[in-house]
Amino acid sequence: MTIAEMTQLVGLNADGFSELLARRSGEPAWMRQAREAAWELYKTMPMPTRRDEEWRRVDLRSIRLSEIAPFAARSSGALPVAVKERITAGPASAAMVVQHNSEDAYIEVDPEIRRQGVTVCGLDEAVRLHPDLVRKYFGVIRPAAHNKFTALHYAFQSGGTFIRVPAGVRVDKPIRSMVYLDADGAGCFPHTLILLEKGASLNYFEERIGLDDGRRQNLASGVAEIHMDDGAQIRFMSLQEYNRDTFNFSSEKTIGQKDARVAWLTAELGGRLNKGFIDCDLTGPGGRCELLGLYYINGRQQSDVVTLLTHKAPHTEGNILFKGVCDDAARSCFRGRIVVQKEASQTQSFLADHTMLLSDKARSDSVPTLEIEANDVICKHAATVGEISAEELFYLLSRGIPEPVARKMIVLGFFEEVLKGVPAASLQKLVRRHLQAKFDVHDHDATMPGLSESDMESD
């Protein structure tokens, strides 16, 4: 970022907001009004504190909002090498949408899915090309008022991805969305809007990446809204690797109608702080939602995720499973919540979260809630917080495996239950690799001698 840009656009404050509006002067009036309404809302909402239950475990006091730019241009015209590498490292895709800092940087769509009537583009482009659709669905299921950082998102939104899959069309290869943040001291506000018509099916994979040489704070606040008509299916996979100076807020919600199938998986590795809200409403009979998550944090990273699965119709099924590992002084909280409304009889829903602590200073809390208003329901929860099992460790040692390697195997093995839920084998490998890499950076001795799970599993 040039000095001119920095001095021009700094501060998630009134000046910054005016600057952003000026930059976005070409936007339709309704969009501008939405930003202004969100900004007004943001100003009236108090900054969450430790006294607010859902924010009790995250420390927001050190965010310096006035030093974070509301918009960061791409740092260069060409795609950064790191982005190109990430594109090829990931699975072959039906479409690829890349955002570099606050701007759309690259898009590629398989002509085949175009022919089938699938729409994929950056959200900013969708505002221009599909204003009626965006206007109708944008901010509807996850409104600005959800929390202070959602309001901030709707005021400053730039970038994100828009996907619409028409009735009956299946997109099997993933549509990928990548946000690459290499600006230092920048805000990042991508919005994901996905519309799945009757019987449509989508595989979606998003990556949120931050270059790890920042000194100034970044702030990301992303929102995803997923509308699913009867019988629609989504496999949603998200990998978050923002840098250690990024305060990351995310707020995602899916509404699935009759017979909708949601398979969700979120993997959080990066960020200084992650505060996530993942909601799913099953509003029609036969709906099913599987919400999986994993996180691996160390140093002083914090993670606090709230999941809310609401059964609003009979014969719906849900499953929430989160697994996290905290090392060093990292701390986490997982608040899993399942609500079974009165109408939702003959529903079954399970909630489980398990955390492994690798150091004396790491901490984790689990706050499960089941609210059941219907009869004839099966609903259960389980939660554990533990350390590496001494017996498992001794078993591996007794076979000649050095201790750092043994510890690594057990920790990575702990995630496998969740990783198994990753839809595509190639994605599974990718996430596994990134988990390993994070472990290795932290503890170089732990590299397994010549062990590669990929060649084991491919036989």
Partner: protein, 277 residues
């Protein structure tokens, strides 16, 4: 110098002395049976030799191939060639039998030196320059041994001992022994929970390996297994000591007369060992 040489060993668990002056020598090529009632300290001895941190050696020594076994951490003991088939093997969810065992083999091959740090791509290509076993080569060895032990191929990809039946666990212990080729194996009640066919399979697995390259200390409290694995020497353990040793005929004597006969003969109170599991 014997391969394994234990002299006047004393072991405590949680402050309580369990092994009280045990001496024993086992060589490569030999099979020794260690018999004794429940609670006499057989598993404690195995854990102490394998280096479990909960088991503290308070006196005596154990030498392995001439070196001080007790000075080594557990992984180095294993790499030196000592193997323990556990009475109750731990389950390690998320770690497949194949990956676990290949890592173990490569750890042995890396010979204790810190494994070279490989970056993702290098590691994947197997470009570790050393003598590490390739996935292909390893799978061949693994499958061969699984076939001999009547284990389906898919065990390679199942999580270690996770949801395995008692018999499967025991066979997977022997599988590990077969792949790691130790110089001295301690088999802690490898026969318990096995039906007769499974026991024969396991015994064949052991017999295949015993020879000039490997000795075995077979722990059991039934004579059953010893019909299939023939020991040259039999030791009877009570209250943390070997009270008597003999040839294979001792197995039959024990079978016929029971441990009480030994107790009477050596003046050991019956109460001391009765309650333990």
């Amino acid at each position: 110098m014997a391969t394994l040489e234990i002299k006047d060993l004393h072991v405590s668990v949680e402050g309580k002395e369990i092994i009280r002056g045990l001496s024993l020598e086992v060589n490569k090529g030999e099979v020794h049976a260690l018999m004794g009632p429940n609670g006499s300290g057989k598993s404690t001895l195995s854990f102490a030799l394998a280096g479990h941190p909960k088991y503290t050696v308070t006196r005596g020594e154990a030498r392995f191939k001439g070196g001080d076994l007790l000075a080594l951490p557990p992984d180095e003991r294993a790499r030196a060639g000592l193997f323990l088939a556990f009475q109750y093997p731990a389950a390690v969810p998320g770690v497949t039998v194949g990956n676990f065992l290949r890592t173990a083999v490569n750890s042995h091959r890396a010979n204790g030196s810190a494994p070279r740090a490989l970056t993702g791509k290098e590691a994947e290509a197997g470009k570790n320059g050393g003598n590490q076993i390739s996935a292909r080569e390893f799978l061949k060895v693994l499958k061969e041994n699984m076939r001999i032990l009547n284990l389906q191929d898919d065990f390679a990809f199942r999580y270690l001992n996770d949801g395995f039946s008692g018999g499967e666990k025991k066979r997977v212990e022997i599988l590990q022994m077969a792949v790691l080729k130790p110089e001295l194996a301690i088999l802690d009640e490898t026969d318990s929970g096995l039906d007769i066919d499974a026991m024969k399979t396991v015994a064949e697995g052991v017999n295949r390996l015993v020879g000039p390259e490997m000795g075995a200390l077979v722990i059991t409290h039934y004579q059953r297994l010893l019909n299939y694995i023939k020991p040259q020497k039999v030791h009877v353990m009570m209250e943390g000591r070997i009270v008597t040793s003999g040839g294979p005929e001792l197995v039959h004597e024990l079978e016929a007369k029971g441990y009480d006969w030994i107790r009477q003969k050596f003046g050991i109170a019956a109460t001391a060992t009765a309650a333990a599991s």
